[in-house]
Amino acid sequence: MARWQMITVIIALYLVLTLGIGLRAGRKASKSVTGYVAGDRSFGLLVMYFIFGATMFSAFAFLGGPGWAYSRGAAALYILSYGILGMAPWYWVGPRAARVGRRFGYVTQAQLLVGRFPSRPLTALMAALTVLAFIPYITLQMRGAGIVINAVTDGHIPLWLGAGLAYGIVIVYVLSAGVAAVGWTNTFQGVVMLVIAWSLGIYLPMRLYGGVGSMFEQIATQRPELLTVPGLTATGEPWTWGGYSTSILISAIGVAMWPHLFMKAFAAKDDRTIRRTVVLFPTFQLFLIPVFIIGFAGVLFPESPDQADFILPFLILRSELPALVVGLFCAGALSASMSTGDALLHASASVAVEDGVRPFRTLTDRQQRSLMRWLVLAMGAVAYFFALNDRVSLVVLLLSSYGIIAQFTPPLISALYWKRATTPGILSGLVAGSAVTLFFFFEGAARPFDLHEGVLGLLVHIPVLVVVSLLTKDSAPEKAEAFLRAAKGDGDVYAAGPPESLDGTGGSHS
């Protein structure tokens, strides 16, 4: 058997295993919408931990991360810096969101917001911004899967087939089982990713330079500009401190707002699970170190790939590793791409139906589930179309979508903590913040100190939200109070305190 055929067999085995795990998980989940979107609110610690870890480290970690370290050096360290800064507040915020979710039956962010600030334009705006931010994200994951399969099989499997196969499998298990499948496959994929990243991060520098330390010593003498922050830009110019620092800031503010992550707070079994997931999160974060080391291992390598993002497959194919290791690497990279892609597809379809369609049309539970499935297929098809038609603007879109997603933070924090916030305040803040972000995205040269456009958006967003809220009156202050009481956990079956019925539905929703 030829080398590439052996690799293909290993990849095929891996894909079959993933499909099996996904389908098995789906048999246990209930047929309700809560079952499909929020996994019957039953996720335990192990599944939650890997969902967060595996979902956050997408194809970007395996291709983009090493690509950044390789071409932009220490600029990549911003990725290591923001994750835990963004997650730590969720030790307190996450359980709060989960409690109102259980009490009022929310499964998406927009439902939570509209539950506190009733407004149909608000839910439509959230749904539109979410889907817009998701398409380039899904596209990149698909392309990543195609690139990896294409590269390691010496081009025998073309990009369209590789991407199509990997995502065909993702779509089958997302369609059949919803979020339960996403949870269990991510657990499996997370373990594969961790093992592969650490082994390659130690093996490659050993093999090429005789160790991690001597690799960095050699880079320090030949390319010292790569080893200190803020590193370089994509074109090889020195990056600015303003751009580097505000990238950390905006990513930390935005990271937990990605709907596919935020919605997992509603899927958690209890508050304890959410808190522990946050506590354990830094252990997953350290996984970025071997990923960066892999990228740095390419710096002094005599040959270079066409694009920086190809550095990892490029090195692996030239280091004469056994076919088994190459196959496993491919499995790890596919894990990274698929574990994010499945969560994204699932979340975007859920949000489109729950926030974009349901507030405007009544649907039965059954109709909702079938509409979500059609949308998973449709989103998959749109992303597949873009994945085959490579355009640079996609990467740019993805970076700017962080700026948009971060605009969800002030409204959600206000909904959960600030009694005086009003619907007009939230709506005008969100519109102003998104508009400013988009303006500076298109007029990048106008940004002072190279600050991230999302940060500039927030600088307008927050004052508008506060001032308009203070100038307008809440139409139903007693409703806001009931909402905040639920957020604190009064009457919640999972929190301490006497049960108390607010709307007749009782504490837990299932």
Binding site: A74, L77, L80, G83, Y91, W241, I248, V278, V279, T283
Partner: protein, 72 residues
């Protein structure tokens, strides 16, 4: 320590973390030498904050759990 003071210390810690890895507080630690565990000092500096974050979160969690148990 009471839950409130633990929360305060944790908040101060995470603000310090944010400042320590951005301009201008990062500048004195933004250097290649000395290599620690083979890593450039800049990378080691950030990794340290991540590792200490884990300990801080474990500490916060213990104190919050004790407080919740005391409430019951």
């Amino acid at each position: 320590m009471s839950v409130r003071s633990v929360r305060l210390v944790a908040t101060i810690f995470f603000i310090a973390f944010a400042l320590a890895v951005t301009w201008p507080a990062m500048i004195p630690f933004n250097r290649i030498e000395p290599l620690v565990f083979g890593l450039p000092f800049s990378m080691f500096w950030i990794a340290c904050w991540v590792a200490v974050s884990f300990l801080v979160l474990v500490w916060v969690d213990r104190s919050e759990e004790r407080a919740r148990e005391a409430e019951d």
